[in-house]
Symmetry: C2
Amino acid sequence: MKPAEHWLDDVKWQADGLVPAIAQDAATGKVLTLAWMNREALALTAQTQEAHYWSRSRRALWRKGEQSGHVQRVREIRLDCDSDAVLVVVDQEGGIACHTGRATCFHQKLADGRWTIVEPVRKDPTVIYGR
Amino acid sequence: MKPAEHWLDDVKWQADGLVPAIAQDAATGKVLTLAWMNREALALTAQTQEAHYWSRSRRALWRKGEQSGHVQRVREIRLDCDSDAVLVVVDQEGGIACHTGRATCFHQKLADGRWTIVEPVRKDPTVIYGR
């Protein structure tokens, strides 16, 4: 019999069963992604030590990097003071977290009243995804 | 007449009018908080260069540090690839972002199947808030 995982019960899941999860690169300190986890995604993230998320658009569990190969290997899992947000510190395979081929998803910077892309494409997405 | 702020329209606000906003310490690289912004909070954050949020529990606009003095001075405002999450890189006044008196709100670390507090209290909250 599998023991109850009390640490999963400590998380204050939203009404929709999700919690926001930030991924941070252990090597560079960059904030890579803001994604969502359900209970299964967080359990799998801890169990496999690879980041898993819940895709709200596809309504499906998603192992980060399953298509791109850009998996996130877990160094630390943290929970905030209100227990309603997760931080995952990761080793980012390939140094690319974004589907656009950039290191981080946060590549638009506000400058002079407009969003400007400030992170270079490290690898062409058509190469990453083979399209 | 005030010009339209198109950059605010570029943000994909949730149905509830909010967007998750991560604050990161410019000096230490620490992820400090995950909070929420509505349109007014993000506009004020850009305009005043001090982080403003929307408190979901109090249902009120909130200038970070208005009570504690631990304001967050904005270095950069970033938007992610899907335009549905914000990252604010800040100078954290006092080096304390959390209401518990810790540097970061993400002070619970998963270890051996339980959450363990791994960040020291830098200042007693009763001193911070004068209670």
